[in-house]
């Protein structure tokens, strides 16, 4: 099972990516997907701008995916992350984990997101609708705690 890792400016398609994973095995009993979306922050956000470290972003998510694949009996794993300008309601990240049983799929997807949040080199800048303020999103301590539980 070779994890799929893609870092791209373009949007991605949940159905197409999930379909690709399903074709890989007839023994898949459970597929968990996580989609991370750009929230509109109660109407105040104009856009997010996502900066990333080309090369390391792919490498780091690849390392996290390999770790997930070594911990759970997975039949498919994909992690896709966008960069550039992203509008409210649009996709930012997609993680898909497939396994024979649901617990492995749930845990692997949740693990991958927790680690991706705290270790993958991406940074979000907010552009506000009224133009009055904008700034870099601060890291949440709860994300560190979430990654610490694995």
């Amino acid at each position: 099972m070779q994890p799929i890792v893609r870092i791209q400016r373009e949007d991605f398609d949940l159905a197409a990516e999930t379909g690709r994973l399903r074709e890989g095995s007839r023994d898949i009993g459970a597929i968990v997907t996580f989609s991370g979306l750009c929230r509109d922050e109660a109407g105040t956000l104009a856009a997010l701008e996502i900066e990333h470290y080309p090369g390391m972003a792919e490498a780091e998510i690849g390392r996290i995916a390999e770790e997930a694949a070594s911990r759970w009996p997975l039949l498919g794993l994909a992690a896709l992350h966008r960069y550039g300008r992203i509008l409210p309601g649009e996709n930012i990240v997609l993680v898909i984990a497939a396994s024979s049983h649901r617990q492995a799929a749930f845990e692997a997807a949740s693990f991958l997101m927790d680690y991706l949040k705290t270790r993958a080199p991406f940074w979000k800048k907010q552009h506000l609708r009224d133009g009055s303020a904008s700034g870099w999103v601060e890291a949440r301590e709860t994300d560190e705690e979430a990654a610490g539980r694995w």
Binding site: G36, I50, E51, H52, Y53, G55, M56, A59, E60, H81, I92, V93, M113, L116, K117, T118, R119, A120, P121, F122, W123, K124, K125, W136, V137, E138, A139
Partner: protein, 88 residues
């Protein structure tokens, strides 16, 4: 320890405060660890001092792999400095 040429890369507000996305520098002898590097960079100008004034807020990757501030710089070709990540 002899002088070493490395590429430094900055991201997010570290990049904005330093005013550079990347630069090539020659590290003088005596700069052995990430911690030494951060202290040396702080003295390079106001932007650097502002960007690095709280060193524990700075994350570091050597050759595209996360390292702690105590890590040595041997073999480093590319050193990246950036704030805590906020992807996902």
């Amino acid at each position: 320890m002899t002088d070493r040429a490395v590429k430094l890369i900055y991201f997010a507000w570290v990049r904005e405060r330093i005013g550079l996305a990347e630069e090539h520098v020659t590290l003088p002898g005596g700069i052995a660890t990430v911690r030494d590097l951060l202290a040396w960079l702080q003295a390079r100008g106001d932007g650097y001092a502002e960007a690095l004034k709280v060193p524990e807020a700075i994350r570091v990757a050597i050759n595209q792999d996360h390292v702690p501030h105590g890590a040595g710089l041997d073999g480093a070709r590319e050193i990246a400095l950036f704030p805590p990540m906020t992807g996902g």
